[in-house]
Subunit: 224 residues, 2 copies
């Protein structure tokens, strides 16, 4: 089931499209401004963004550029009939496709389907946590777009922690889930691995942002 982020200020259009898309099996998140859309982007990780060009506040082109900067989520623009120059500008701002208003739900569905087919199984599954991007399928972690070179155990540890952000994992739990085979040794092993991981993903490993220590309990990924 694919997730669609719909950014459209006109309530009638928004609700109509939301209904139509939901009815066709998409999970839709509909918001009414670019700012809200960019907020949602970080938490919802949609597979495709449908973006109205004419928005109050931040305009569609700016939103488009910012979404592009954040990753490779495909963008379908909604544009007023006849504004060919808008189309050109939108495509140059990084949009993948456009649909001319008034929008026929069937047309939009066809376009979304086409975009998803193209993107396919490739990059549908990127997790973003602040500056960090985690691609579990590709086993790639990037920070601000730069790949980070992590060892296997460090990767498994990061995957485990980032799988449930905000939750504290005890050393014992981590030994069982990351190291798998019943482990007898010192639980300080986890500390060592955390340290190596921090050295690679944190800006300042003395003040970690991603992997935080919860004194007396274990480690937590992400926000406080």
């Amino acid at each position: 089931m694919s997730r669609v982020l719909l950014i459209e200020d006109d309530p009638a259009v928004r609700e109509g499209l939301e209904l139509a898309l939901t009815g066709h099996g998409y999970r839709v998140r509909a918001v009414e401004s670019g700012e809200q859309g960019l907020d949602r982007l970080r938490t919802d990780l949609p597979d495709v963004v449908v973006l109205d060009l004419m928005l109050p506040g931040m305009d569609g082109f700016e939103v488009c550029r910012r979404i592009r900067a954040a990753g490779q989520i495909p963008i379908i623009m909604l544009t007023a009939r006849g504004d060919d120059m808008d189309v050109v500008a939108g495509l140059e701002a990084g949009a993948d496709d456009y649909v001319i208003k008034p929008v026929q739900p069937r047309v939009l569905e066809a376009r979304i389907g086409a975009v998803l087919r193209r993107i396919g199984r490739d990059q549908a599954e990127l997790e973003r946590h602040g500056d960090l991007t985690i691609d579990r399928a590709g086993i790639v972690v990037t920070k601000r777009g730069v790949p980070v070179d992590l060892a296997p155990t460090e990767l498994r540890l990061l995957f485990e922690l980032s799988g449930t952000p905000g939750r504290v994992h005890s050393r014992q739990q981590l030994l069982e889930s990351v190291w798998e085979h019943g482990y007898f040794g010192d639980s300080r092993l986890v500390d060592a691995c955390v340290q190596r991981l921090r050295a690679k993903i944190e800006d300042d490993s003395a003040a970690p942002v991603y992997v935080r220590t919860v004194r007396g309990f274990g480690y937590r990924f992400g926000p406080v």
Copy 2:
């Protein structure tokens, strides 16, 4: 330099677009009927087809379907303003994109650019991955135009890996998908096959570009 096959019966539009596209660095072949277009398709191997829907003789939808049947060359439709149902039908017939008449050359160029950019990282009939071209239908792999002689298992391995570029395949997964029959033996078998494959497709098998090792996890085709 990309090749465009333009199928358009109106001489004024045809010549105007031909001129504009040529001026922007495309090699354009312009014909005036679907039949001529299909003929040209075989000899010219264009990177993209621009197809008018309203054609004398064989109509655009039929041409579209036949181009699709012949391969995965992307198709951009030219459609009359306001015919949303034509758009849907065109997309269902296999078109990748559409532009509404009257056509602004800049719009068409942007659409062609967008389509070609997508192909770049996606797949046409021939998948291109850097210097490597994979023709799954013809079971042919060429490198810089030179056919590479691969053994059956090496081919299956390459197909499996390149089918999901960027995704890491574990040795176990590969044993199941490439070797099929429930396999007990050493998973180092995969290593051996990878090594043989590399010897044939990599420039420097010590610094592989196509099939990369992901230590502790498996192998990945393509980009980092």
